[in-house]
């Protein structure tokens, strides 16, 4: 009964979404306040109904109701409760339901927190949001019903894919989707602004917090996915340039560009057309990512052709929304008047360069991901595009961008001078130089340019701190004044500093672990020891164990460093029972200098085991960096200027910001 209620609620949500898509838009066009006023209650009702549907499916999972086909296919009664809940979105139907749930959540947030939006803009934005919602609700209802029943009822379920039974991967989709779907708000704002024909500083101020929110969720979602890959794949790879990863990376790159260009619109009233285009592209790439992952087109073009129903439906959604928005853009964008002028060397100029490089990076990931598919469809030729391609194309594009990150905030608006801006960073420059020299001295082997990479990472971190020190007057006014000023700084400024710093940490982690990773693959028998990376590792024993829904062989490895036992690592080879799928659980010990990483391989002979031991220097910095970026976004969201946001005051604040 509860399950049917959920299905019915979803149907009602579709009807409400259609209503919300049409009525407020008509009202806004006619200037009829009675019609525009329905947008807010409709958005809230839609959220309530989808939440009900989502709760119903969750209930079916938690109670292991195997009469529901979706639960039967993806759950098992012996599964831990946590994974029963996260199993809701560990499959196609459930994850699409999560998708529309988050979409409705963002829509409702715009409705609730958008109190100071002009009624016309708000009604149009919510209307566009509901158009997207109704398209995806229809998709779920017609092709991906999570509430379908089974008769007769099976005794037990087939179990969740074991690789999804993992904390990081369990919460990876909600954050990733919050990022993907959050960009729909920027998209809706852009389309609404195009319909209105007006983009101004106030518009940018409204769009920015939504973009920040989506961007930080996307950052965390991608980081969680990469962390999962790191400890699950058995050798510590954290980014494989896999199409599925690329599908989430493209919107991230464009959202990052959008964050920066919206600043120019807000402060200087320039780059409007470009910013609107970015807002459209960011969400378009999110839709593309959804299509790539959900249609099965990535596994093979043929799998897509065999069961094309879902893929074609999402493709149609894709074409309607991207095509429609771009057509609207082509028609209306020329009406948007260009704003403030600026010299090439200026804060605006720096942000333009940032956008250009990010756009080129996104283009690289785009062609690298889609060209093989396109080529196969057109000519039948099959080619592969992997890490070596991206290293040669993405690398040279991202490096100058990273180098320029600390310099941009040093530039003044309108017109700046490059050399003084660089000079003000002398402190960061010295730190970076020293870091490079030290790295070169310590690590004789490894790539020649790796020390340069370390210098680059520290340049970013020290550059961010340097900027903060200058803003607070630490170098001239003393510590006390600086601290007082620090708390007086706009939160958005602190957020930017943190985000840039986090990027620096991530660069350090990526460079160090890529350049100086150590590895040892060998056969060990219990009792045997090896020396590795300054530690002595002893294979103590191996014991079988039975878990809730798996059986595994657990190895015990004693790690001794400086004649002291540091830890006992317990990696295992695991087989999940319902599916008999094997997985490998690695043992990781975090030293301050990096991770000791140990994975068990296959049996070798009677008592032997293939053992893979790695040392990944500084690798946690990658995720620490991502967490700092997330924190930066969160702090930036608390900036009161975002909440005040009314045009009059926005302008006053902008003037203040420009004068500061």
């Amino acid at each position: 009964m509860i399950v049917e209620t959920g299905h019915f609620a979803l149907l009602l949500a579709f009807a409400v979404a259609l209503y919300q898509a049409i009525v407020p838009l008509v009202g806004a066009q006619r200037g009829d306040e009675r019609l525009t006023a329905v947008a807010v209650p409709a958005a809230l009702t839609q959220l309530g109904l989808i939440a009900l549907a989502f709760a119903a499916l969750t209930y079916a999972y938690v109670t292991s109701d195997f009469s529901v086909e979706n639960v039967w296919a993806n759950s098992h009664s012996a599964k831990p409760l946590l994974y029963k809940v996260t199993g809701v979105w560990g499959n196609h139907e459930g994850s699409m339901l999560l998708w529309v749930f988050i979409l409705a959540l963002f829509g409702a947030c715009v409705a609730v927190f958008g109190g100071n939006l002009p009624p016309g803009l708000k009604a149009r934005t919510l209307s566009v949001q509901a158009m997207i919602g109704s398209a995806f609700l229809l998709f779920i209802l017609l092709t991906s019903n999570p509430f379908a029943r089974l008769d007769p009822v099976p005794v037990d379920g087939q179990g969740l894919n074991p690789i999804l039974q993992d904390p990081a991967l369990a919460f990876h989709p909600p954050f990733l989707y919050a990022g993907y779907v959050g960009l729909s708000v920027a998209f809706s704002f852009a389309v609404a602004a195009l319909i209105e024909g007006r983009v101004d500083a106030a518009w940018a101020r409204w769009v920015r917090p939504w973009t920040v929110a989506a961007w930080m969720c996307l950052t965390l979602g991608i980081a969680m996915g990469s962390w999962w890959a790191y400890y699950e794949l058995g050798w510590g790879g954290f980014w494989l340039w896999d199409p599925v990863e690329n599908a989430s990376f493209m919107p991230w790159l464009v959202a990052t560009a959008l964050l920066h260009s919206a600043i120019v619109v807000e402060k200087r009233n320039a780059l409007k057309v470009w910013t609107v285009l970015l807002a459209i592209l960011a969400f378009s790439l999110s839709l593309l990512g959804t299509f790539l992952v959900r249609s099965g087109v990535l596994t093979s073009v043929h799998a897509f052709a065999v069961d094309p129903e879902r893929g074609v439906f999402i493709l149609a959604i894709l074409c309607v929304f991207i095509g429609g928005a771009l057509a609207l853009f082509a028609w209306r964008a020329p009406m948007l008047k260009g704003g403030g002028l600026f010299q090439p060397v200026s804060r605006e100029g720096a942000l333009v360069v940032n956008n250009l490089l990010l756009a080129a990076c996104a283009a690289t990931v785009f062609v690298g991901t889609l060209y093989p598919l396109a080529l196969e469809v057109v000519t039948g030729d099959k080619i592969s595009v992997g890490a070596p391609y991206f290293n040669l194309t993405f690398g040279p594009l991202i490096l100058p961008l990273l180098l320029l990150v600390p310099i941009g905030p040093m530039m003044s608006w309108k017109r700046a001078r490059a050399w003084p801006a660089v000079q003000r960073l002398w402190g960061a420059g010295v730190v970076a130089l020293v870091a490079g020299v030290v790295a070169f001295a310590i690590a004789r082997d490894g790539p020649v340019l790796a020390p340069f990479g370390m210098a680059l990472g520290l340049w970013l971190i020290a550059g961010a701190l340097n900027e903060l020190a200058l803003r607070t007057g630490l170098f001239g006014k003393g510590v006390r004044t600086a601290l007082r000023r620090l708390f007086g700084l706009p939160r958005a400024a602190i957020g930017m500093t943190l985000a840039h710093m986090g990027l620096g940490f991530a660069v350090l982690g990526i460079v160090a672990t890529t350049a100086w990773r150590q590895e040892l693959v060998t056969v060990m028998t219990p009792g045997e020891s090896v020396d590795f990376a300054g530690t002595a590792i002893t294979f103590v024993s191996e014991t079988p164990r039975t878990g809730a829904n798996y059986r595994d062989d657990v190895g015990r490895f004693r790690v001794v460093a400086d004649n002291r036992e540091v830890t006992v690592l317990t990696p295992s080879k695991r087989v999940y029972l319902p599916s008999r799928q094997p997985t490998s659980e690695v043992g990781i010990y975090p030293f301050w200098s990096g991770d000791l990483y140990l994975a068990m391989g296959d049996r070798e002979g009677d008592a032997g085991r293939v053992v893979r031991i790695y040392f990944h220097p500084l690798v946690p910095f990658i995720w620490i960096g991502a967490a700092i970026m997330f924190a930066g976004g969160a702090i930036s969201l608390t900036d009161r200027r975002y909440r005040v946001g009314a045009p009059r005051r926005a302008r006053a604040a902008a003037a203040e910001g420009a004068g500061a």
Partner: protein, 161 residues
């Protein structure tokens, strides 16, 4: 030199470091030869996996390929000859870095084309704007008064944007 520089840049940017699913028994005695074999392994795709190099893959076919590479290297093949040999056998699909040829121009050129075209567009727009935005002739006092009449006093401003 350029290739080497790019390779190192590549390393900095990410992700071509040694990673492995190779087995202890595959390793060659000659470290230099083994290093070359590992390098080559990261460039070749495991044909039965999704987007994994044979260096990362556990699949038996990947193992066969790793052994094949080492055999060819031991027989004195250059890196290029090994790659050619594998491509002749398995097709271009096996290369994770497609060759630069007419059918992959659209793969290799766009990243840099976006940069170049974007740069040109920005520069040209700047030029056009500089031309279009020459300071206007100052208004006559009478015109200024009428303008003030029409749009209100700009100094006070109503803040509407």
């Amino acid at each position: 030199m350029m290739a080497r520089l790019l390779a190192v840049l590549a390393l900095l940017a990410g992700l071509s470091g040694p990673a492995t699913a190779y087995q202890p028994d595959e390793v060659l005695d000659d470290p230099a030869l083994e290093a070359r074999a590992r390098e080559l392994s990261t460039e070749l795709r495991c044909l039965v996996c999704q987007n994994q190099s044979i260096d990362d893959s556990d699949a038996p076919l990947a193992r066969d390929l790793r052994i094949l590479i080492r055999e060819r290297l031991q027989e004195g093949d250059t890196d290029g000859e090994v790659i050619d040999f594998v491509v002749a056998r398995y097709g271009e699909f096996v290369l994770l870095r497609p060759r630069f040829a007419p059918h992959t121009w659209l793969l290799w050129l766009p990243p840099f084309a976006v940069l170049a075209i974007g740069g040109i567009v920005i520069l040209r727009r700047r030029g056009a704007r500089n031309g279009a935005n020459r300071p206007d002739a100052p208004l006559a006092p009478a015109e200024e008064a009428r303008l003030k009449d029409l749009i209100g006093d700009p100094d006070k401003g109503d803040g509407q944007t």
